[in-house]
Amino acid sequence: MNLLELTLGIMTAVGGFVDISELVFAAQAGSSYGYALIWVFALSTIGIMVLGEMSGRVAAVAKQPVFNLIRHRLGLKLGLVTLIASLISNLITCAAEIGGTAIILHLLTGAPMMLMAVAMMAVLIGTIWILPFKWIERAYGLLGLFMIIFAVALIKADPPWARIAGGFVPQIPSGLSSGELIRFAYFGVAIISAVMFPYEIYFYSSGGIEEEWGPKDLPINRLTCIVGFGLGSLLAISILSSSAALFAPLHVDPQLPGSAVLEAELPMGRVGLLLALLGVLFAVAGAAIETCLANAYSVAQFFGWEWGRHKKPWNTPRFTLTWIALFLLALAIVLTGVDVMKLVEFAVLFSVLVLPLTYLPLLLLASDRHFMREHRNGVLANGLGWLYFAVIVAAAVAAVPLYLLTSGGQG
């Protein structure tokens, strides 16, 4: 095992874990419910570790990405439904990420948000065009490590560590009204969706094919998922905890992505603010790239086109035109002026509805003797996989009613 590769892979996973949805929902969860939703982050992170490891293993052993296998297992009709649903979900998510970067750039430069959205679009297209896959992923993942400032800010804020530790225990706060209870459930479902976004599985598994993983890379896959996602989740939990420690006592409701960065400014001043803005910018920009490429991977794999950024763009022409078109579509959504927070809410809602369709074929494939041979799911992977599938189905069933009852978490 190449230690440098492993370290870079883990650090990339850490820096790339938090996106606009996790940022927003972590901050709001902390300000509204204190430390009571930390356990949902922890639970969801274990879920994405399990499913991420499976998708990487399928890519390394079956040498086929998830959407090729979805097509083969579900067939054309149901496969098309899954493709269209995930395209819509990922497109909205991509628009939310681009909108998020535009907000951060506006805060950094003062320039108009829409202009920043167009500028960001040009940078993202340029990044994917110029850089090969490994450096696209690493550039934004490693620069996203500026997010560590949130963990540092939390330490400096001297929070009640015992209460943070207590937050890891599954709980429902006592004394909530029925309306607040429903809103608490909505946040639980939203966090599950934000942490287990389907685009992460498509991107991670296709990335494994891009990097030509084989069975010898299975330990790297496992360590990246467990350590990388685990540490990344701690960053998200830092954001939640800082919000609980700093915003909740002041009854501040951090509705905007820009509000969350104040968690770094309050204890650390302007340096903290700047580092937090940069961290969020790179993490969210990286997520914009991942969502767009995940969609392009899905389309290309579903229809059997040449795909991948380990090849030159002119050798994968339909794939190239697809990711450019998807970026432009996402930008068009942002330029309609729709509130970025609404996009975040819709992204989370659509994604949780798509999750069961995404994960079921993956679960079945990962335990398929014909494709996976001796690397198929063992008892633990199967058990956890099906447990999380049940959690995802429950979240998908509850999502729309909870969204409507709480007006998208507003109460």
Partner: protein, 76 residues
Amino acid sequence: MRLSALIGLPVRDAAGRTLGRLHEIRAVDGRISELVYGPAGLFERLTGRAQPTTLPWSRVKRIHAKTIELNQSLDP
């Protein structure tokens, strides 16, 4: 004739009884050798498990537009 035109067609025996729907065809060296039918469809495909009801293709008398007719009577 296309494969898609056959999959999902009801399989009827010589007595006219519907035995199930065709959801798999097996071939050897490109030559159709067996049909697999039954009530299962999507579940079978999702789980990849072998469907127990199999007949040699030689038992097929005729392929109609909407059914597959066998050349003998069978218990459903």
